[in-house]
């Protein structure tokens, strides 16, 4: 039986509740994205829609059975934007309720491992992005950072910068997903935001960008150069937004 959901985290939780409670459900159930589903001739399809009651029951049950850490990992796994997340979540819970409170530790089980791997990939990239984020100072002392992470982790990196750069106004902009977080020295506010055509940099910005590029070039030891290791540790997909690696057309003249 194929269940369809709207692609939201809440939608997935709600659908899973329905799948667990449908009488006559078969073992080979899957939960797929409505927008991507293509009907096959023998498919039996059930449409699901987010239901407050179902969502809160599932959340409560996960928290009570496995604890907040497991719930956090499931949330991270969702942010991996894996198309198979729905089915992955359903199969994970099906196994986990049999294994009990510490189910997340049983990495020898493929259904548990699948969620763990998705979580791990998101956690890894978000730790990486906390380092690779680059702010540039715009006019009026606004610090602006643009990035395009593989996974949807804007909400995961924001608390770090809220704690660290608490005395400056900043914007973190995911231009791939067209949304941004705005911080005004007090609170953070999330909003949709299209890529910005022209940025107006502060008069000192160029000086520090040049200094950083110079530092980056000079700190490497020529005798130890290793392009392979360099790109392994700092993959090319991030270079567009790294001040020290960005193509020269993006640099301030």
């Amino acid at each position: 039986m194929i269940y369809l959901y709207d692609g939201s985290f809440e939608g997935a939780l709600s659908a899973v509740h329905q799948m667990f409670h449908d009488k006559g459900a078969k073992n080979d159930q899957s939960l797929q994205l409505r927008a991507q589903y293509q009907h096959q001739i023998f498919d039996v399809v059930v449409e699901t829609y987010p239901d407050e009651n179902r969502i809160s029951k599932v959340v409560k049950s996960i928290l009570e059975t496995f604890g907040s850490e497991t719930f956090r990992k499931i949330g991270y796994a969702y942010l991996s934007e894996d198309e198979g997340f729905g089915t992955m979540l359903y199969r994970f819970l099906k196994r986990a309720y049999k294994l009990g409170a510490n189910a997340m530790e049983n990495l020898s089980d493929p259904d548990i491992l699948a969620i763990y791997k998705a979580y791990n990939a998101v956690a890894r990239e978000s730790h990486r992005m906390i380092g690779f984020m680059r702010f540039a100072e715009l006019e009026q002392k606004v610090f602006y950072a643009q990035f395009e992470p593989t996974y949807d982790l804007l909400s995961l990196v924001v608390p770090h910068f809220q704690d660290r750069l608490s005395d400056q106004v900043w914007v973190i902009h995911d231009t791939k997903r067209r949304k941004a977080a705005f911080y005004n020295k007090e609170t953070v506010h999330f909003s949709d935001l299209d890529p910005v055509d022209t940025l107006y940099f502060s008069s000192v910005e160029k000086v520090y960008q040049q200094m950083w590029q110079a530092y980056f070039d000079h700190i490497a030891i020529d005798e130890r150069k290793s392009p392979k290791r360099h790109t392994q540790l700092m993959p090319k997909k991030y270079w567009n937004f790294l001040t020290e690696k960005m193509p020269s057309k993006n640099l301030l003249k």
Binding site: G131, L165, Y208, I219
Partner: protein, 435 residues
């Protein structure tokens, strides 16, 4: 000379110090200050030599009264430009870089000008300004200048997260040969002082909550490998003593790069000249692996290497080298072994050993499971059984076995570091192997 030119010169002068870690300190942000620190540390970039850039690693000045043969900044080296920052310039660059998220903080060192005390006072001026005027709450790693007054070392410790005094040369003889103006006692004394003070402040904090922090991320040091002819056993014995007796957090190893006065460094000792830089980098890598065995795997230096076998094998990693010497201890039953026993199996690391212990509570593990959990079966399969079964029939004669172990594993970059996964166990503490 403008700040940009100084930055270039003084980054060049600082880069041969390998340490760049920003770990070991966890400090929350504060609205009245700029910055915070995180226990595992954060890498902000990777230089083209593949080394992580976490801190702004820089010298205050590369002018130096000493003439150490191994050092690019030695006084007799006429071939390099010299420069010195003003405290204001350096503070401005640090803060501006930090606000742009280029760096995790500052790693400040210096050539020795006038005398050690004068130099130490200059460094203190910079970190004091950062902390007190700029309210900078990020990471600071400061070099202690050997020979500086104890009071200055203690004063500096109030402002910084980590302090390090580089030993550079493993033995007194090498020091006498290559750095005659320095002496061993002047390096060891401040280390002992820092250890003592850290314990003192730690004890005080238990009683009085408002006790200021004192070098919360602990101290580290650096040894140069390959400029002199000490065997690997000598080097890891020194590291072991530093970890145990001086409670050091890290010992860094730096493969010697011929930037120094070649005539003083005997050619037979200069490994880079004899075997090439690549071979020496490999040796440095093996020493790092042995260092990990000391800190995270419960090995003693005398187990890793012996008097008859005093050098690390360049073909296999140190744990394999140990295992091949101790085949009598294998195979180990994965479903029964303790954490410490698992940690001694080649191909199993700290993360995977803990995964094994967590997941085998749900039922016995087979070889299938182990592969999926990230155990490097290419090496582990020769040393383990799963519920009594071995992985096919194998020839366990050490010499033949070594041939199977030769190829280096791939994909190291896909692993989370231990500090990320177990910050409490690995972020700051050494010698703590509790789960």
């Amino acid at each position: 000379m403008d700040a940009l030119d100084k930055l270039k010169i003084l980054a060049d002068a600082a880069k041969y110090d390998v340490s760049c870690s920003s770990s070991g300190s966890e400090r929350k942000g504060d609205k009245s200050m700029l910055g915070n620190t995180t226990l595992p540390g954060i890498c902000h970039s990777y230089a083209e030599d593949g080394r992580c850039i976490s801190l702004l690693k820089i010298l205050f000045t590369n002018k130096c009264i000493y003439d150490c043969a191994y050092c690019i900044n030695r006084s007799s080296n006429a071939g390099i430009p010299r420069a010195a920052f003003t405290p204001e310039e350096l503070v401005d660059i640090t803060i501006s870089f930090y606000r742009r998220n280029y760096i995790e903080g500052l790693f400040l060192s210096s050539g020795v000008v006038v005398n050690p005390n004068y130099t130490m006072e200059m460094l203190i001026k910079v970190v004091k300004k950062l902390r007190e005027v700029e309210r900078f709450n990020g990471y600071i790693h400061l070099k202690g200048i050997p020979g500086a007054d104890q009071l200055l070392i203690e004063h500096a410790g109030m402002y910084v997260d980590r302090m390090s005094i580089n030993i550079e040369l493993p033995t007194t003889q090498s020091l006498r040969l290559l750095a005659p103006q320095k002496n061993r006692a002047e390096m060891i004394a401040p280390m002992g002082l820092i250890k003592e003070k850290m314990a003192e402040y730690g004890a005080m904090r238990k009683q009085f909550k408002n006790t200021p922090s004192f070098i919360p991320a602990g101290q580290s040091t650096q040894l140069i490998v390959g400029a002199t002819d000490e065997p690997d056993l000598k080097i890891i014995k020194i590291s072991e003593a530093l970890y145990k007796r001086m409670s050091l957090k890290r010992v860094y190893y730096s493969a010697y790069i011929p930037v120094g006065n070649i005539s003083l460094i005997p050619a037979r000792n200069n490994e880079a000249a004899v075997f090439g830089q690549k071979q020496l980098l490999k040796r440095e890598h093996r020493i790092y692996q042995a260092d990990w065995l000391l800190r995270f795997y419960g090995f003693a230096a005398d187990e890793i290497l012996t008097k008859d076998d005093p050098n690390l094998d360049m073909d296999v990693d140190p744990k394999c080298q140990w295992a091949l010497r101790n085949m009598g201890l294998f195979p180990v039953e994965v479903n029964k072994a303790s954490l410490m026993e698992l940690l001694r199996i080649p191909g199993i690391g700290n993360i995977t050993a803990r995964r094994i212990i967590a997941s085998r509570r749900f039922g016995p593990l087979g070889f299938e499971n182990l592969t999926k959990m990230g155990i490097v079966m290419k090496r582990a399969k020769y040393f383990i059984t799963c519920s009594g079964k071995t992985f096919g029939t194998m020839d366990l004669e050490p010499i033949k076995l070594k041939i199977h172990l030769l190829d280096a594993p791939k994909g190291f970059s896909n692993q989370l570091s231990m500090v990320e996964l177990y910050p409490r166990q690995f972020g700051g503490v050494t010698h703590d192997l509790s789960v």
